[in-house]
């Protein structure tokens, strides 16, 4: 027996998953309370489209600001920490130790400080995404080939030129990877915090409908979050590969793999 091509197998699995989602509750294998059918989920999503799109707007607004904090701050701080040897030696081990702390335990502090509105979500998701972005940027800056800078100096580049013409382009792949990571984590941070304590947003809809056992509405919100995070990931990937063609094409798969082994920070909780 010949196995189908991997891409076909993947598509087949997706279709099977959607079919199961429809058929398992319909046939009564699982009660609708545990898993409402795909069609009923989509139906309530359409019926409540105004509620859901309003919630999506709140969530997106929070994600955008959190991303701004995490990516802006994380890339800047990562560049400084990665670029200055002394600072790096001093701080990087501290940050990797702190990385072990589940940041979610700080969320009650943020709600106490900033209230249950968007501010606490932005602050929490911003910080949640900040550290991984900073660590990966610092690691990326550090791996810039010193020969690149030596060559630039030999060609008479001034310090400013070394930064603008060599260090910045050489770190673009890291910066884009940081943006992809930071955005994904900001989405997660916002959703988690909305689920925990909130008065608006998609995460809030998840929790609200869970407490009243309205499963189709829980799954409608869940579906939106799924689509949101996968869409973001695909967009970020596409943007990245367009911007830094030379990076993805020029590196051996082995190198890319080592990188992902070292930084499994993109795994979401």
């Amino acid at each position: 027996m010949r196995l189908p091509a991997p891409a076909t197998a993947r598509r087949g699995m997706l279709v099977a998953l959607l079919l199961l989602w429809e058929l398992v509750p319909r046939t009564g294998l699982l009660p609708e309370l545990f898993l409402p059918a795909l069609s009923s989920t989509l139906a309530v999503l359409w019926q409540d489209r105004q509620i859901y799109s309003a919630a999506l707007l709140v969530t997106l607004y929070e994600v955008a600001l959190a991303m701004l904090i995490a990516c802006g701050g994380g890339i800047a701080a990562g560049a400084v920490v990665g670029g200055i040897a002394r600072l790096r030696e001093l701080l990087l081990p501290v940050f990797s130790s702190l990385y072990a702390v589940p940041i979610v335990i700080l969320y009650p502090v943020f709600t106490a400080w900033f209230g249950v509105g968007p501010e606490s979500k932005i602050a929490f998701a911003g910080i949640y995404a900040f550290f991984p972005v900073m660590l990966s940027t610092a690691a990326g800056i550090r791996t810039i080939d010193p020969q690149f800078i030596l060559a630039a100096r030999s060609m008479g580049a001034t310090l400013t030129q070394q930064v603008t013409r060599v260090i910045i382009p050489a770190s673009l792949p890291t910066v884009f990877a940081g943006l992809r990571l930071g955005g994904a984590l900001a989405i997660i941070g916002v959703v988690v915090s909305e689920m925990l304590t909130a008065a608006a947003g998609i995460g809030y809809l998840v929790t609200l409908n869970r407490t009243i056992l309205d499963s189709p509405r829980v799954f409608a919100a869940l579906l939106m979050i799924l689509i949101l995070s996968v869409a973001y990931y695909m967009l970020a990937r596409a943007f990245e590969s367009r911007m830094v063609v030379w990076q993805s094409a020029g590196r051996s798969p082995k190198a890319a793999q080592n990188e992902s082994a070292g930084v499994p920070v993109s795994v979401a909780v």
Binding site: L3, P6, A9, R10, M13, L33, F34, L35, E89, L90, P93, V94, S97, L98, Y99, A100, V101, P102, I103, V104, I105, Y107, P108, V109, T111, A112, W113, A184, I187, I188, V191, V192, M195, L196, T197, G203, V206, T207, R210, L213, S215, V218, A221, L222, I225, L226, S229, V230, Y232, Y233, M234, Q257, N258, S260, A261, P264, S266, V267, A268, V269
Partner: protein
């Protein structure tokens, strides 16, 4: 040595700021109680049986979830690393799966298990399995093909290759995998407890936060952070010892 002193100085600076800024009302002591008050509260909390119980519950959840997730995730990870076809099918999917917030599935676990010990364990194990899977497949793939070839050319059996090539050369990565999985496992248990529960430290700190009991809240955070950092550093110490040969 010097760098260690510098780090200690930095820590002292942060702690001093935490103590002095609320004391002199540079920041509102209601929002950030001085460190000494928090530590006093911490001492008091650690006497309470209610807190002991919560620590016990959380520890049990963390441990059981980890014991489920590690073998499961490792088996799946090895499978996609070793089986070329499965790897090709699932690896691209995994990257998407990893970018999805697992916490959105918490309501499902609550619907199925209720708000129970089993629900926390199941959710944390579910989350952690993905992390273990990723790290385990990375660890398997990190073994250099050359090592395997050499071993095979000397006539090593499958078992010998496993025990004398795979295990030692994967050791540092395995420890790292365990360490990182534990970070995510701990986080998952915390989220589950904070989200909906009747016991555990996560439940306590969420309650303290809602009731504006900032001293208790910060005391709880200190305990959790200390435990997490201590665990992490211990494993890192062994990692470093196992990987002196790595260049």
């Amino acid at each position: 040595m010097k760098i260690l002193l510098a780090r200690l100085a930095l820590l002292a600076l942060v702690l001093a700021a935490w103590e002095l800024m609320p004391r002199h009302e540079i920041v509102n002591p209601l929002l950030l109680p001085p460190l000494s008050d928090v530590l006093a509260m911490l001492g008091e909390l650690l006497q309470r049986p209610q807190v002991h119980l919560a620590i016990g519950v959380t520890a049990a959840e963390v441990a059981v979830a980890f014991l489920i997730a590690v073998p499961l995730g490792a088996a799946l990870g090895v499978l996609i690393a070793e089986n070329e076809y499965l790897g090709e099918v699932f690896k691209p999917v995994l990257f998407y799966v990893f970018s999805i917030p697992k916490s959105i599935f918490l309501p499902m676990f609550i619907l199925v298990f209720g708000i129970t010990f089993a629900q926390k364990v199941a959710y944390a194990a579910f989350t952690t399995t993905f992390v273990v899977m990723l790290s385990a497949s990375a660890a398997v793939e990190s073994v250099k093909q050359d090592y395997l070839l050499v071993a095979r050319s000397y006539g090593a059996t499958r078992m010998q290759i496993l025990l004398r090539v795979y295990v030692p050369s994967m050791m540092p990565l395995l420890l790292e995998a365990l360490r990182i999985s534990m970070i995510f496992n701990f986080t998952a248990v915390m989220i589950a407890e904070m989200y909906a529960s009747r016991a555990g430290i996560g439940h306590l700190i969420a309650g303290w936060g809602e009731n504006f009991q900032m001293r208790q809240l910060f005391a709880g955070i200190i305990v959790l952070a200390t435990v997490a950092i201590l665990f992490n550093e211990t494993v890192r110490y062994f990692e470093a010892r196992c990987s002196t040969w790595r260049t």
